[in-house]
C-alpha cells in the first residue's frame, strides 16, 4: 500500500517536473538553458517509464537521450552559434498562432477525454512469466526480429549519412 502510494507520488512528481521543465524550455530564450531543461524532461520521463514497469525503456531513455541525443544537441548548439562569451539567445516568433493552436489542441484533447475512453476496457494488468527485460529481449529476437534488423540498418545508414554530411566540405558554388 505504501509502496504504491510512493509510486503514485513519484509519478505525479515526475510528471509535474516534466511539464514544468517543458514549459521552461518553451519560455526560456536561452538555448543552453533550454537544452539542460530538456535533460530534466528526459530524466523525468525516464523515471515515469521506470515507475510504469518499463525499466529497460527508462534506462535506454537515459542512455540514448541524455547520453546521446542531448550531447549531440549541445555540440550542435556550440557548432552552429558563435561562441563569443555572450548568452545564446533565440527569439520567439509566431506566439499568437502558437498559443491559439495550443489552446485548440488542448480543447480537442479535453473534449476527447470527456467522452468515454475506449482503451479503458483493456483489461487488468497482466502478470508476466519472465522479467520485463527478458520478455523484451526474447520478443526482440523472435516476434520483432525483422523490425529490429530494419532499425539496425536504418541506424547504420543514418550514422553514415550524418557523418558524411557533417564531415564533407561541399564546394561553394558561387
Amino acid at each position: 500500500m505504501e509502496q504504491i502510494n510512493f509510486n503514485i507520488l513519484a509519478f505525479y512528481g515526475f510528471a509535474g517536473l516534466a511539464v514544468i521543465s517543458a514549459l521552461m524550455i518553451l519560455m526560456s530564450k536561452n538555448i543552453i538553458h533550454s537544452v539542460f531543461m530538456l535533460v530534466l524532461v528526459f530524466l523525468s520521463v525516464a523515471a515515469i517509464y521506470i515507475i510504469t514497469n518499463a525499466e529497460f525503456v527508462g534506462v535506454t531513455q537515459i542512455m540514448v537521450y541524455i547520453g546521446g541525443i542531448l550531447i549531440l544537441m549541445m555540440f550542435g548548439v556550440m557548432l552552429t552559434n558563435r561562441i563569443d562569451g555572450g548568452k545564446m539567445l533565440t527569439e520567439h516568433r509566431r506566439i499568437i498562432p502558437a498559443v491559439l493552436l495550443g489552446l485548440g489542441l488542448a480543447f480537442v484533447f479535453y473534449s476527447t477525454l470527456q467522452t468515454k475512453f475506449p482503451l479503458a476496457e483493456f483489461g487488468p494488468q497482466s502478470e508476466l512469466d519472465k522479467s520485463v527485460t527478458e520478455t523484451i529481449g526474447i520478443n526482440f529476437m523472435t516476434h520483432q526480429l525483422v523490425a529490429l534488423e530494419l532499425t539496425a540498418v536504418l541506424l547504420l545508414m543514418a550514422l553514415i549519412g550524418a557523418a558524411f554530411l557533417a564531415g564533407s566540405k561541399f564546394e561553394d558554388k558561387k
Binding site: V19, A22, T52, Q61, L72, Q144, T151
Partner: protein
Amino acid sequence: MIPIEHYIVLSAALLIIGLMIIIIKRNAIMVLVGVELILNAANINLVAFAKNDPLLTGQMMSLFVIVIAVAESAVALAIIYQVYRHQQVSNIDELDELNG
C-alpha cells in the same frame, strides 16, 4: 494504480508544449528539441498502454522510437551544421532562399 488517462494527459501536455516550441522558436536546434519532446510524449503513451499487454509490444515500439529518434536527430544535426557552415544561418526562418 495510476489511471491511464493521467498518462494521456501528461503526454498531451508534452505534445502541445513540443508543438508550441516547434512553432515559436527560431533556432533550428530548438525546433529539434520540440520534436524530441513530441517523440517523448508518444513514447509515454506507448509505455503506458503496454502496462496491460503481456507481450510488451508498446515498450518495444518505444525502443524503436528511441532508436529512430537517434537516427533522426543525428541526421538533422548534421544538416543543420552543414547549412550553418554554408550560409552562416542557424535560424530556420532565415532559410528562405527558395521563397517564391
